[in-house]
């Protein structure tokens, strides 16, 4: 029983990461109108940027966080014109082409990480960064809740709340929601689609950079293949929740984290991945358009 509770806490932390990634993905889908499943690859790249900054500055946490956020925003803004260029040609090329461009970007970044950064070996974050040195903050029998887990959950909650605040209480958030509901209608009332789309790239970059830091703290390490793996999980989660469904993404993201953690608590090896993917496969086969309904 204690194992179960412990693993549920674990699952909530990892689930928060999934939620953040899925939300970023959904934002790009709704406002920039692209399927960017290599978005998690960009996030992993930011993790590497944070790690490099740690190496260069001799352990400066603040600069690393900054490096992560800035690199995520920069990459997003740099790739935005690629996506927007093919969006303009809508008619003969559709949203699936954005998926292929996203794949291309993922290929380039992942392979670059495999060759050039740390010679392709996984990177590890030092204890003072991950807070692992602080030991478990909460100890209840078998339940150890680390500083990293609490931070991830906390920042995750703040980030999601912040995002919803932006969406519902600011001018640009309103524009985002209008575009999400009806891009043509939004254009007719004078909302600049391309400029607002660019904003969503920047915002998602910010979200991604923060998520990268949280992942560094929670996981303590990263490898080139991590981005792909996360990307596929994020795509699966958002499809099951319904593409573009922000609330659904919240639920399913957390659920996936918990399911994975619970499985890992009872079976060793990478079976947790296999089971998670197996469940997702069944869910998509049963309901290809998503459980909560899709935007597309």
């Amino acid at each position: 029983m204690e194992v179960l509770v412990a693993q549920i806490f674990n699952g909530l932390s990892i689930g928060s990461i999934y939620v953040l990634l899925v939300t970023g993905f959904n934002l790009l889908l709704l406002v920039a109108m692209i399927i960017h499943f290599s978005f998690p690859v960009v996030v992993v790249f930011s993790m590497y940027m944070a790690w490099i900054t740690l190496q260069i500055t001799g352990g400066n946490v603040l600069l690393s966080v900054l490096a992560s956020v800035v690199s995520a925003i920069l990459i997003n803004m740099a790739t935005a014109p690629l996506f927007q260029h093919i969006m303009k040609k809508r008619g003969s090329v559709d949203i699936n082409a954005t998926m292929v461009i996203s794949m291309g970007i993922g290929m380039v970044i992942t392979d670059y990480l495999s060759h050039n950064l740390n010679h392709g070996f996984p990177i590890a974050f030092p204890d003072n960064f991950t807070g692992a040195g602080k030991g478990a903050l909460v100890n209840l029998g078998l339940i150890h809740i680390s500083f990293g887990q609490i931070l991830t959950l906390g920042v995750g909650i703040v980030a999601v709340l912040g995002l919803f605040w932006i969406l519902y209480k600011t001018k640009h958030g309103r524009a985002f929601r209008a575009i999400a509901e009806n891009p043509d209608g939004a254009k007719l009332v004078g909302i600049p689609l391309l400029k607002t789309g660019l904003l969503s790239y920047a915002l998602t970059g910010l979200l991604g950079g923060v998520t990268a830091v949280l992942m560094a703290i929670l996981l303590g390490s990263a490898s080139p293949g991590l981005g792909d793996q996360l990307g596929h999980k994020v795509l699966a989660v958002s499809i099951i929740a319904g593409l573009g469904n922000l609330h659904g993404g919240l639920v399913i993201g957390l659920l996936l984290g918990i399911v994975e953690a619970v499985i890992q608590g009872y079976w060793a090896g990478s079976w947790s991945n296999a089971v998670a993917f197996g469940i997702m496969l069944v869910a998509i086969l049963v309901k290809p358009k998503g459980i909560f309904g899709t935007k597309l």
Binding site: G104, V108, P288
Partner: protein, 299 residues
């Protein structure tokens, strides 16, 4: 024949087949990455069947192809008419599942894989290689012919209409689901076939051979070559596979990055690829003109 030439020709054929396997369902707009899972599953099936059950090569080839077709067919009941992103993620998850199961199963060699696949004929290794090349290129011819027939039939036209506008195609009486089931089954069959041939070319397999890089490379070949005709793959696959082999080592290690950049560039600059239908009809007109001139000159 040197080993290098053998591997170049053999793997080129595999790339042609795998890229065609993705080309076929993409005719109606679906990226059917499950074909890579089909390749892995049939390759491992072939290994087990050959080593443990003693099946002869031709039986393994047919069974492997049918296995691919079966899996593709069953899945297509659910995703035959699904939106592209759903087909993509089903493909990805099946690949992950397959790899994870293989890696964790001792009987399948785990992460190290299976070795010592026997020759398919009695005789020297060199003769074996010749036979394998002949077989795989016969398969390329066969598949190419089948695709040609399909493309130039009402099936091909129906697929194109679905690609352009799915709803409009339905009003013409095109059955999207049936089309999807057919194309996905066809593509998966070729995936299975490629897996078996790959096994006998390499005479060893491991989970590392079936990566998402393979998807990326096939996509690059398909899109750079041109996804609206089958000839794009035929030209792009050997070129994109062969050219890196003769480049210096330092450039070769950037292969995937170069592919990625190529893929993105093509989509932005020339989305339909290099070999497009207008390009083909221009060429065929030129050829016809030359032929007519020759006939005229003779008269």
């Amino acid at each position: 024949m040197s080993l290098t030439l053998f591997y170049f020709l053999g793997i080129a054929a595999i790339y042609i087949l795998m890229s065609w396997a993705i080309y076929i369902p993409y005719r109606m707009g679906q990226l059917h990455f499950m074909t890579v899972a089909n390749m892995a599953i049939s390759a491992y099936f072939a290994a087990v069947a050959t080593l443990s059950w003693g099946w002869p090569f031709w039986l393994v080839l047919i069974a492997g192809t049918l296995l691919g077709a079966l899996i593709g067919w069953i899945a297509s009941f659910a995703i035959g008419d699904a939106p592209c992103f759903a087909v993509v993620i089903v493909g990805f998850t099946l690949i992950y599942l397959t790899k994870t199961i293989i890696e964790n199963t001792e009987a399948l060699g785990g992460p190290l894989g299976i070795f010592s696949i026997p020759k398919i004929i009695e005789g020297t290794s060199a003769a074996n290689r010749h036979v394998i090349l002949i077989i795989v290129y016969l398969l390329v011819l066969l598949v190419g012919y089948l695709i040609y027939r399909m493309d130039h039939s009402r099936l091909g036209r129906a697929a194109s209409s679905i690609f352009i506008d799915r709803e409009l195609a339905t009003t013409f009486g095109v059955n999207v689901k049936k089309m999807g089931m057919f194309l996905q089954t066809f593509g998966s069959a070729i995936g299975g076939m490629s897996g078996v041939m790959y096994l006998f070319i390499m005479r060893a397999i491991s989970p590392n051979h079936f990566t998402f890089h393979l998807i990326g490379v096939c996509m690059t070949m398909l899109f750079v070559g041109g996804y609206t005709t089958q000839w794009g793959v035929l030209i792009a696959a050997p070129l994109l596979w062969g050219i890196p082999l003769i480049l210096p080592e330092s450039v070769q290690s950037w292969k995937i990055v170069i592919y990625g950049v190529l893929l993105i560039s093509v989509l932005v600059v020339k989305p339909e690829g290099f070999i497009t239908r207008p390009f083909l009809s221009k060429i065929s007109h030129r050829i016809q003109k030359i032929l007519f001139k020759k006939v005229e000159d003779k008269i």
